[in-house]
């Protein structure tokens, strides 16, 4: 029966699995201690479980408080991914991009990509320095996804409009490294969005 309470608390939780399991283990240990306390004071186990459930509070309220911690942890994880990956990807593009004058259209698209990366990087830096707390996971997730979307869109257009002579010889490496970075950032950003959405659902 004590499992019922824990399962109800656990069901809506989303976020880093290790922290989630650790928090639930701690809550479970405390709950069992409360039940043992009740039994020691003469209650039947069923009565003790009912009393512990009432004392611990509505599973929804406890889950909401736990989800806030999971959201904060996921926000920091995604923020670290963004502050490491985005500058690395920007430098990669600058180092391995085509030489010579790329033309106005390519320059504008490249600057647009830089601006999207800078916005996501700024949000991540604010999270890591503790200046952005509310909706931190959603902010990091949304800006991470947007920056990757802009980068993919712009690079596709650049590939279509750039002259063949502009193509650098290191293009395969550039594309592979970009793809790895894009998948890494996108996966983390999407996780952050899911965790942020769970916070909105749980309360």
């Amino acid at each position: 029966m004590s499992g019922d309470y824990l399962e109800t608390v656990a069901a809506p939780l989303r976020g880093p699995r290790r922290l989630r399991d650790d928090m639930l283990a701690e809550l479970g240990d405390g709950f069992e201690e409360a039940v043992a306390d009740g039994v020691e004071h003469g209650l039947s186990r069923d009565e003790a479980v009912r009393r512990a459930s009432a004392d611990f509070g509505s599973p929804g309220v406890v889950a909401a408080a736990m989800q806030r911690e999971l959201e904060a942890a996921q926000a920091r994880r995604t923020a670290w991914t963004l502050v490491i990956a985005l500058p690395a990807m920007t430098v990669l593009w600058d180092l391995l991009g085509g030489r010579g004058d790329p033309g106005l259209a390519v320059t504008v698209l490249a600057r647009l990509t830089d601006a999207a990366s800078a916005a996501a990087f700024t949000a991540a830096a604010l999270v890591l320095t503790g200046r952005l707390d509310r909706r931190a996971a959603s902010a990091c997730g949304a800006l991470g996804v947007v920056s990757m979307g802009v980068a993919l869109g712009c690079s596709t257009v650049i590939a279509l409009i750039a002259e063949p002579s502009d193509t650098p010889p290191t293009l395969p490496f550039l594309m592979l490294a970009s793809a790895v970075g894009t998948v890494w950032v996108s996966a983390s950003a999407l996780r952050a969005l899911r965790v942020g959405a769970a916070r909105a659902r749980v309360g």
């Binding site: 405390g30 611990f56 509070g57 406890v62």
Partner: protein, 105 residues
């Protein structure tokens, strides 16, 4: 007093229970009940995530221990936690003074 009545003060109260030494979540819940003369009626399950929040803020450190066949996560105040407790206490006394002055005027 229910949870809404102590809104914003729970962290300070938890830190106060750790002033005399380390404790685990269930002991902290017991200390809150006992020291409030059973007047504090809060969903005790929320104390656990509150402890994680305090740990994230650097006000306490937590570690798993094993004692008497029971696994427990034990928390201890940090120097920052002591400072936060002192500030929380001062803020509360200032608020109480303001409330008393207005209500009694």
């Amino acid at each position: 007093m229910d949870a809404d009545g102590i809104h914003g003060q729970l962290d300070t109260l938890i830190l106060a229970t750790l002033r005399r030494g380390e404790a685990h979540g269930y002991a902290i819940i017991g200390a809150l009940r006992e020291r409030s003369g059973e007047q504090l009626d809060l969903p005790s399950g929320t104390v656990y995530p509150a402890l994680r929040r305090l740990e994230r803020a650097g006000h306490v450190t937590g570690k798993w221990t094993q004692a008497g066949g029971r696994r427990r996560r034990v928390y201890e105040l940090t120097a920052e936690g002591r400072a936060a407790l002192e500030k929380g206490r001062e803020d509360w006394l200032a608020l109480r003074q303001v409330m008393t002055a207005v209500l009694d005027s």
